[in-house]
Symmetry: C2
Subunit: 158 residues, 2 copies
DNA sequence: AGTATGTAGTGCGATACCGTATTGAAACAG
DNA sequence: CTGTTTCAATACGGTATCGCACTACATACT
């Protein structure tokens, strides 16, 4: 056979290039819909508190988003300054804190989603969501693999 | 039927969430492999010069990457400071410049790709590239739609 | 108890990114 | 030729991100 392995490196490069562009485009779109002073990262944290878990510690949040602790500290500080989250001390562990979303935070999230809805609608008109649904498991699987690989920094040839 | 339209909004949210995480993970991985002082954005610009077009103007590059002109100016300045690109004035238009990759730039790119190859290999071992190849056209199509939508900021219901 | 080690959060400094305003040059109308 | 408009690039300022180092607290070990 001549070469039925068409350069996996090229495929991965192309894939990550597309993913990067898509992430940037969607991020820019979202950023455009958010009020000034709130960044996409901060919106994402707020979203996480509602959809995944409320009352987690800053470190848990940092791990969930794969960002350094210091970045999460900053995001939470901004959100707290805007009254969208509340930081409470952990009575059982004096080192840690809990992050709760406030009523204002939920209202903010609702408003942001409403502002985004027209975009989603015009997008579905051009690209049915069902075509994406099929890719979701594959993407999630790859994400988990990359996530696991994150802790294996030196891949020897095997 | 009860509801065969399972909230396109949810699907898009989940999709963009996965895409965002994947982009961040791959970006972090790449950043880890680059020498300090060179960011992923700068590497991407260098890559673009070799793979897509060399000798383009900063504005063309900014459009290609969907970033503000100022960001591209910054990236090019850093790359030029490292001797990886060369900026030449456009003799036909005094306002614009051309960005060329230098020999050092090509060598740098080669080294960066070599440093990244082990990651790709260990990834293919866990996730065959062929599974990604099938998704590429769909991703590219969605990317083009999002790109086109970028200039249609107010989607009325239709 | 007392010491050593580990962990959660943060202050600080450096860099990247991007919006705004400015500079310089080209294109065009009169 | 002159004034206006348009456009490329950049200077500047503000925010996000992150590495480093530090404090405070918790846990383990002797």
């Amino acid at each position: 056979m001549p070469d039925n392995r068409p350069a996996p490196e090229e495929i991965f490069n192309a894939f990550f290039l597309e993913v990067g562009i898509l992430a940037q485009l969607s991020r820019a779109r979202l950023s455009l819909r958010l009020p000034p002073g709130i960044s996409v990262s901060q919106f994402s944290v707020l979203n996480h508190l509602v959809r995944v878990r409320d009352g987690g510690t800053p470190l848990e949040l940092a791990r969930a988003f794969q960002v350094p602790k210091t970045s999460m500290t900053h995001s939470l500080t901004v959100l707290e300054r805007h009254g969208l989250v509340r930081l409470a001390p952990n009575p059982a562990d004096g080192r840690s804190k809990f992050a709760f979303i406030t009523a204002e935070g939920r209202a903010f999230l609702q408003a942001a989603r409403a502002a985004l809805a027209p975009d989603i609608r015009s997008l579905t008109a051009l690209f049915p969501a069902s075509r994406l649904a099929g890719m979701l498991p594959t993407l999630a699987e790859l994400r988990q693999i990359l996530d696991a690989l994150r802790d294996a920094p030196s891949p020897d040839q095997t």
